[in-house]
């Protein structure tokens, strides 16, 4: 089981409490599709992903970004058993969506950059450490049911 320090627990709750999911979700997903364009392979039916402007203005990307962020909320509320919390989602991503789990890491990196931009100086090295540890656990849990 993952051990969280008091600082890490408090930090994760605080970061997500202050976060505007409907702003950060779309920003992170659209950034991922621009910075790592091969991730677009999963969104063939999303319409125009032709360039950065199109991606950032695409309403289906925005909607899906919100879905993903609200999905992260489950881990925020169940930090002591993220693996069990995401077992079903892991099966979904593996069996139905067939997403290469390396993509979870790429999205996590983009989310870190977006949160850093929103939080500014408040995103200290210690906060970054806690946030990245949390995302690493999420990423690992989402990859657990792949076989």
């Amino acid at each position: 089981m993952v051990q969280w320090t008091d600082f890490e627990r408090a930090t994760i709750q605080s970061v997500f409490e202050k976060m505007d999911y409907d702003d950060v979700g779309p920003a992170a997903l659209s950034r991922c599709l621009v910075v790592y364009p091969w991730t677009q392979r999963y969104f063939g039916n999303f319409g125009n992903l032709y360039n950065a402007a199109a991606i950032q203005g695409n309403p289906m990307v925005a909607a899906h970004g919100k879905t993903v962020l609200h999905g992260l909320d489950r881990a925020v509320k169940n930090m002591d058993d993220i693996k069990a919390t995401y077992a079903e989602l892991s099966v979904l991503h593996s069996e139905k969506l067939r997403v290469d789990p390396d993509n979870f890491r790429l999205l996590a990196d983009c989310l870190t950059i977006v949160v850093a931009a929103r939080m500014g100086a408040a995103f200290t090295a210690d906060v970054q450490g806690a946030f990245q540890k949390f995302l690493a656990v999420v990423v690992s849990s989402l990859g657990k049911q792949y076989h």
């Binding site: 659209s30 950034r31 621009v34 910075v35 950065a52 991606i55 950032q56 990196d109 870190t112 950059i113 977006v114 850093a116 931009a117 929103r118 939080m119 500014g120 100086a121 995103f123 090295a125 210690d126 970054q128 450490g129 990245q132």
Partner: protein, 143 residues
């Protein structure tokens, strides 16, 4: 994944905006590397103070950014421009190349914090590609 003409133009334009804060960027990026990826501290056992923003960290952060500046100036042939630095890293410093990715990530985080509006997705992809190219150039002479 080599640098296109568009990438080079974006990197040069973005670098012109941020170069004034190069030392702060280097200091913060290196501080984050040491805190968030503690295994990187193994390269600096000879420093008295490894805490974020300490004198040796600030000085070394500045040195690193000098190398990045050189890479921007040599963007049309980064390998040639960084030849001496590549030899330094290969034969003397022997920094595991995995650490170039770690530092690059933290440089991007600091750019996002300091330039939240300018560091948009297009600037991000160009800088990510550029820093990856720098890492590759530095690893050239390793074996």
């Amino acid at each position: 994944m080599s640098l296109t003409a568009k990438d080079k133009k974006m990197v040069k334009a973005f670098w012109a905006k941020v170069a004034g804060k190069a030392e702060d960027i280097g200091c913060d990026a290196l501080s984050r590397t040491l805190v968030v990826y503690p295994q990187t501290k193994t390269y600096f056992s000879h420093w008295k103070d490894l805490s974020p923003g300490s004198a040796p960290v600030r000085k070394h952060g500045g040195t690193i950014m000098g190398g990045i500046s050189l890479a921007v100036a040599s963007i049309d042939d980064i390998s040639a421009g960084l030849l001496a630095l590549s030899e330094l890293h290969a034969f003397k410093l022997r920094v595991d190349p995995a650490n170039f990715k770690i530092l690059s990530h933290n440089i991007l985080v600091v750019l996002a914090i300091l330039f939240p509006n300018d560091f948009n997705p297009e600037a991000h992809v160009a800088m990510d590609k550029f820093l990856a190219a720098v890492g590759r150039a530095l690893s050239e002479k390793y074996r």
